[in-house]
Symmetry: C2
């Protein structure tokens, strides 16, 4: 089976927005029509079997997640998703597996109104590489470096659920049926916070998506904004009921793979942010503040005001080592 | 060593064209400023160890080629390269290997004036995925589907050299020192025909880059243009001296990895094309014509006018099987 046919058979679909894409899959490259006044937002991510997913991962789930983690990067910039390119190495051309993977990938692309416009398939150890391209009005992109002293720190959704979902399937904890389902959804079908990112364009000063852990990813905002942070661990929502405090806290602060948005915004924006959360039916939790201080320093306190040891909350002390 | 630092340490360089890239490596995504009146040309390609390159391939050479094959796709569309994103899986973070790879990659990016604006590194079996983004004035992109009956067929450079270079290092043929060097260069450091693609914007009707073999890639133009072709194998330049005719012919017609441009243009453009070849000091050879007939049918003749059996010249009869 040739490379061309795998792409054509499983991944080519009618374009949702043909005016944006004069030429899609099937030539040497795709032709895209950028919108006037917009800047492009581009990100690429590679997912490797054994590192990012297991060999027995459900193919449809994996198709969704492979695109979702890239759309999450666009969301963190406040961008509107437009185009996706998907390259994949496959050990074999199993049509059932590919069809399921494509079904999941297309469900995600359609949910966020992006068109798959290019790709490449080749033989090799299973791995996928997605490039996502979005648009944002010139000057309105949310950057990691835009944090201001005095900004509130916010996070969407219920971070920690993906980590608890993984711990549950590994038998390390036991969740109720409802919590197990919610945590499995967070793990397998993360929801890129695209609508939130767009709503925050004129409101947030800095943003990042939480892929490596809440505190670890906060560190990027702190270093790039040249600020310190005060965080109240007790302010964050519990990801599930009846989980031992220590395990729940680690999941919230250090668990990766949640793809929630972490952002900073001035206190004057609190009402606007509450309204956005209400409109999107998405919990938005204020859990700390940016403060002057050594860039990158993060103090996480428990409900009594006592600082928690950072090595236990997923903070990477040597990010550039 | 964290993912961020590998990208920052080895791949972040000052931007050549800062006005085109408001934000480069280091945030959730890069911000690109498209040019007014231009369309975007986007392509992605994955190179896997064992499939596209061997484990002992020189890292610097591999860095060049990984970007070059993507820039070749832009060239085939007539695009000006602007931006590159590079994702890679690595079995280990060997700094010497990475440094050499980055040196080769940057040499290629700089040679074609593109900026590396994003990336991702992860642990896994060695593989690379590049996304290349270029620009072309709206409506001027060269497509595979644009061929017209009566068009001449042209190819740049000396296709077959990469295949002979590989046969030489494998001991299957013996080339003179000069030919061995030229063929090794074609194999290891392919030159994307960017300047040619740009020059052909207003001249060629259809174009493709030769990565799978001259006749196999011609097949894409034929099927997408709905035309047949007459090809004179004897019209194509010899890739090296003193190679048995059969081996040389197979290399020219079926050898992949040359990354020359194959294009169709009306006979009225012959003088303009000759001038382009002269200006670029690049051989441009007219080797056949597009003719009415069953879309995809290709007749390759020897100097006596006798058709060559297509299964011996790399033509894929069942490209969509």
């Amino acid at each position: 089976v040739s490379e061309f046919s795998l792409i054509a058979r499983h991944f080519a679909r009618p374009l949702r927005h043909p005016a944006n894409t004069p030429l899609g899959i099937g030539d040497d490259a795709a032709l895209l029509q950028p919108s006037a006044g917009e800047q492009l937002v581009v990100t690429t991510d590679m997912l490797v079997e054994g590192t990012h997913f297991l060999a027995d991962t459900d193919a449809k789930t994996l198709g969704w997640k492979t695109l979702a983690v890239n759309l999450s990067d666009l969301a963190a910039m406040g961008a509107t998703p437009r185009w996706l390119l998907l390259a994949g190495a496959l050990p074999d051309a199993d049509p059932a597996w590919l069809s399921a993977f494509a079904t999941g990938a297309h469900a995600c692309a359609e949910a966020f109104e992006a068109d798959l416009v290019g790709g490449d398939t080749t033989r090799g150890p299973r791995c996928f590489c997605v490039t996502a391209i979005g648009e944002v009005p010139a000057g309105q992109a949310l950057r990691r470096s835009g944090g201001q002293p005095g900004d509130d720190l916010w996070v969407s959704g219920q971070p920690g659920r993906a980590a608890l979902g993984l711990a549950h399937v590994r038998g390390q904890i036991t969740l109720s049926n409802a919590d197990a389902r919610a945590c499995a959804d967070a793990l397998h079908q993360p929801q890129p916070r695209v609508a939130l990112g767009i709503a925050l364009r004129s409101i947030a000063h800095a943003a990042i998506d939480v892929s490596d852990g809440l505190i670890a990813d906060l560190g990027h905002i702190l270093r790039q904004s040249g600020l310190a942070a005060e965080v109240g661990a007790y302010l964050l929502p519990s990801p599930a009921a009846d989980v031992p405090l220590e395990k729940a806290r680690t999941a919230v602060l250090a668990g990766g793979d949640d793809y929630e948005l972490l952002f900073s915004a001035p206190p004057a924006a609190r009402e606007a942010i509450a309204l956005i959360g209400h409109r999107l039916a998405l919990p938005l939790t204020r859990f700390g503040a940016l403060v002057p201080g050594p860039g990158g320093q993060c103090t996480v306190r428990d409900v009594h005001g006592a600082p928690l040891p950072l090595e236990r909350v997923g903070y990477d002390h040597f990010p550039d080592a």
